[in-house]
């Protein structure tokens, strides 16, 4: 079969750090080629180079055997490369139709010929079974539909090679099946697909060939028929999978927080809560499983006081919460590892020390006269202790936190949130984007907090994390609770179905 893309010796350096080192990749016409690798293995960097968002520090890209220089996404589009990013690149203020035609220059005249273009799009959407409602605003369609818009967008621009960056991460199982049907149809018509994933089951189901990346380097390219999921996992991680099994707690203590029939924007499928009742006891980890964007963010913000419920009630340690404010919840000894550490967790331009002590500066340990005189020395000493204890790797505690790696940033947050022995810890995607070592550290820390009597509400889209950590599991779908399951020997099939809304 004809080779459509060859990337040779691609290297990308950021300062001293190699995100990609000497990577080779070859994609044939009409195949689904999977790029498999852990977070941080260099998949996204490689694809950003292919799409012209980054310039490689070394190496060469060939399309149809000819060397090409891709200096911008516009060039990539012109060369027939389409990319569906993990975070959709859609303009929310516009309609589906406008998003699809956006930036496409293959037109006569300067005015938008709506009828002709609509016809073209409808033809494409019928040919590849990509149903979309052209006149709906992006904000009003579901995630799966938004993905179809992205694919249509790429096809409309004449993409021959389609990059799908973790396309299944935000989809339910049903939607994944639909996506796979579309992908088969596309390769059947002679398109090529680069599929990025780290979910073994999906990879084995859809790929023709698989290239494994590890720590920025190519490990190997294999045919699907000649390998097994276990072998791939081994190649991806570089060693045998040895999951640590934490002892599960079956009898939690008294409730720390309980929600009764709580509503928040309950009409919204993706950003609301509808009649949620749950409770977190002392000394247990309650895992909230579910596909991203089914109300998890709202649940987390509600039990940390950032937003207030529109219906129902919340009890904190047995007494009803009257006013919702982050500060009120902090005073109730609630800690929060927020979903976006840079935006919600850290003050990037402040030092590690200042971030560790963010909530504590008024404490008599760190200031005199009720906060009117900071004890700089005590602050520094304490921060250095925390740096040791939580193994935060930084040049000094005076280093700005935005310059730390994701894992170390998360450790700063752990030091701040766990050191005062909270009664409730709300952890949202606590290991997202972290490497294995940091993930293990975060998990261990959470377990020891639990064992010290802290109630933990773990919200994660990473199913494996939920299974590994949770003493109880609750599944959330479109803002509703679908069911509750034990954490030891959980019924995985039932939970998966519940996550898909059944």
């Amino acid at each position: 079969m004809e080779e459509i893309l060859r990337m040779e010796h691609i290297t990308k350096r950021f300062g001293e750090f190699y995100a990609n080192r000497d990577i080779n990749l070859s994609v044939l016409k009409g195949e689904v080629h999977t790029l498999l690798g852990e977070n941080g293995a260099g998949k996204s960097t490689l694809m950003n180079i292919l799409f012209g968002l980054y310039q490689p520090s070394g190496g060469q890209i060939f399309l149809h055997g000819k060397p090409v220089a891709i200096d911008s996404p516009a060039t990539a589009v012109k060369l027939g490369i389409g990319m569906v990013h993990q975070h959709f690149m859609l303009v929310e203020a516009m309609t589906v139709f406008e998003n699809i035609i956006l930036g496409d220059r293959n037109t006569k005249g300067i005015f938008i010929d709506r009828n002709a273009r609509r016809k073209e799009i409808l033809e494409l959407s019928e040919r590849y079974n990509l149903d979309v409602e052209l006149d709906k605003p992006i904000t009003e369609i579901a995630v799966g539909a938004q993905q179809r818009v992205e694919i249509l967008k790429a096809l409309y621009r004449g993409a021959e090679l389609l990059v799908l960056d973790e396309p299944t991460a935000a989809l339910t199982d049903i939607e994944v099946e639909g996506l796979f049907r579309i992908m088969k149809k596309l390769v059947g018509e002679g398109k090529s697909i680069i599929f990025i994933s780290h979910k073994m089951r999906e990879v084995m189901q859809i790929s023709d060939r698989i290239t494994i990346l590890r720590a920025g380097e190519t490990v190997r390219t294999v045919e699907r028929g000649e390998t097994t999921g276990e072998e791939l996992a081994g190649l991806m991680i570089g060693r045998e999978l040895a999951p640590s099994h934490y002892a599960k707690v079956t009898k939690p203590g008294a409730a720390v927080v309980s929600l009764h029939d709580v509503d928040y924007q309950k009409k919204s499928k993706h950003n609301g809560l509808n009649g949620v009742t749950l409770e977190v006891g002392r000394g247990e980890i309650l895992g909230i499983a579910g596909v991203d964007g089914n109300g998890q963010s709202q649940l987390a913000q509600l039990v940390t006081g950032v937003i207030a419920p529109e219906g129902g009630s919340v009890d904190m340690k047995g007494s009803r919460v009257a006013t919702f404010s982050p500060n009120g919840f902090i005073l109730e000894n609630v800690s929060h590892i927020p979903e976006d550490r840079n935006k919600m967790g850290l003050i990037g331009n402040m030092s590690v020390m200042e971030n560790i002590l963010l909530k504590e500066t008024g404490d008599p340990r760190f200031s005199d006269a009720g906060g009117w005189h900071l004890k700089r020395k005590a602050m520094r000493t304490y921060a250095e202790q925390m740096q040791q204890k939580y193994d935060i790797r930084c040049t000094s505690v005076a280093q700005e936190s935005r310059n730390l790696s994701g894992g170390n940033q998360q450790k700063v947050i752990l030091a701040r949130e766990l050191e005062n022995h909270p009664d409730l810890l709300v952890a949202v995607h606590p290991t997202r984007g972290l490497d294995i070592g940091a993930t293990r550290f975060v998990h261990d820390t959470m377990i020891s907090a639990r064992d010290a009597g802290c109630g933990v509400l773990l919200i994660s889209a990473d199913f494996d994390e939920i299974l590994e950590m949770s003493d109880r599991i609750i599944v959330i779908f479109e803002g509703k609770i679908m069911g509750e399951y034990p954490g030891s020997n959980p019924p995985i099939d039932q939970i998966s179905l519940a996550m898909a809304g059944k």
Binding site: P326, N349, K359, S367, W372, L374
Partner: protein, 350 residues
């Protein structure tokens, strides 16, 4: 020393040097000897104690307005209304000083207090509009500058006018601020420096100041960590307005004694520029304000001695601002940073 801090000090200095270099070229082009002209400039600003006094006196209102800007920007909001707050403060101060019949120290204290409150009130308007209506605080505060300027016009042409010239009556002699060592500069300068030190202490040595800076750097994270973001924003507006209002009062009682057309004109934006050059550091802002005042005071002597027009000094001031802003932007570029670090480490090894 921390490299970031090193560059943030280096950049303004290099900007000043570059600005003077351009200034020298212009002077040469005008047929003057740059060395003589700069000498005259220096002499005019710092040549003798009398001139130093004049320079400090000119610097005083600029210190107030730049502290005003610093304080608000530290909380992440752009208060461009320093001038309006300065003027409203001076208007209220003028009214009390001339109409209340109180004189002497009680009058001074009352005037400055009320001037500060008036400034704080004026600054609360953009703060409230930002918080509750989501409006752009910059545009609102600028509009309020014009309103304040025109309102002051009503005062000196109409309500408190004295005689045929459009100006207010003078502050009674007993209520004027005392001069320091018989120089032009008054205790207003002392008030300005004390406020500067207080602002510095507040921002860097108190829990509230710490939280206020956190809000300025990342509002979302501050909210998640339990800080009352809106309250801090309003608070920072009001305090920054109070500082400007006190400045307006001090300027009236210390230097001008009456409101007149052009009173305080341009001080607001000067303050913003100086706060930016000082990179929002209150103590640095005091030095920057003195530097700019020196350029202004010295340029008169320079014009008299060498014929170089005072506007050359204005160009130098403008260039310092532009170079600093562009320079600070540049050192943040990754490529530029890498190059600097190479030079840096090479220098260390040598």
């Amino acid at each position: 020393m921390n490299k970031n801090r090193f560059f943030s000090i280096l950049v303004p200095f290099i900007s000043v040097l570059l600005a003077f270099l351009v200034g020298c070229i212009i002077m040469a082009a005008l047929g003057a000897n740059p060395a003589t002209a700069l000498g005259a400039l220096w002499k005019g600003a710092f040549g003798n104690t009398r001139n130093v006094g004049t320079t400090l006196s000119r610097a005083t209102p600029l210190i107030f307005t730049s502290l005003c800007a610093c304080f608000a920007y530290r909380c992440g909001v752009f208060n461009l209304g320093g001038e309006g707050q300065f003027l409203i403060g001076s208007v209220v101060c003028c009214y009390i000083a001339t109409q209340s019949g109180i004189v002497g120290l009680p009058a001074i204290i009352l005037c400055i207090l009320c001037g500060g409150i008036a400034g704080g009130f004026w600054a609360a308007i953009p703060g409230l509009l930002k918080i509750y209506r989501g409006q752009n605080e910059m545009i609102i505060s600028i509009m309020l500058n014009y309103v304040a300027t025109l309102f002051m016009g009503v005062i000196y042409t109409n309500w408190l006018r004295e005689g045929s010239v459009p100006q207010t009556m003078s502050v009674p002699d007993e209520s004027k601020l005392s001069r320091l060592f018989g120089l032009r500069c008054t205790s207003a300068f002392v008030i300005a420096v004390v406020i500067g030190i207080l602002v510095y202490y507040f921002l860097f040595y108190t829990s509230m100041g710490f939280q206020l800076r956190a809000v300025g750097l990342n509002m979302t994270a501050s909210q998640f960590n339990g800080f009352a973001v809106k309250r801090y924003i309003l608070f920072s507006f009001i305090i920054s307005g109070v500082i400007a209002g006190v400045g307006g009062s001090a300027e009236l009682l210390g230097t001008q004694f009456r409101l007149i057309n052009g009173f305080g004109a341009g001080y607001g934006f000067d303050g913003v520029a100086m706060a930016l050059i000082a990179q929002l550091h209150p103590l640095a802002a005091i030095l920057v304000a003195i530097f700019f005042a020196a350029l202004r005071v010295g340029s008169t002597t320079m014009q008299a001695a060498t014929g170089v027009p005072t506007s050359v000094s204005e160009i130098i001031q403008a260039l310092v601002i532009v170079f600093t802003v562009a320079g600070l932007a540049m050192v943040k570029l990754p490529e530029f940073k890498a190059a600097l670090e190479r030079i840096f480490s090479a220098g260390k090894e040598a």
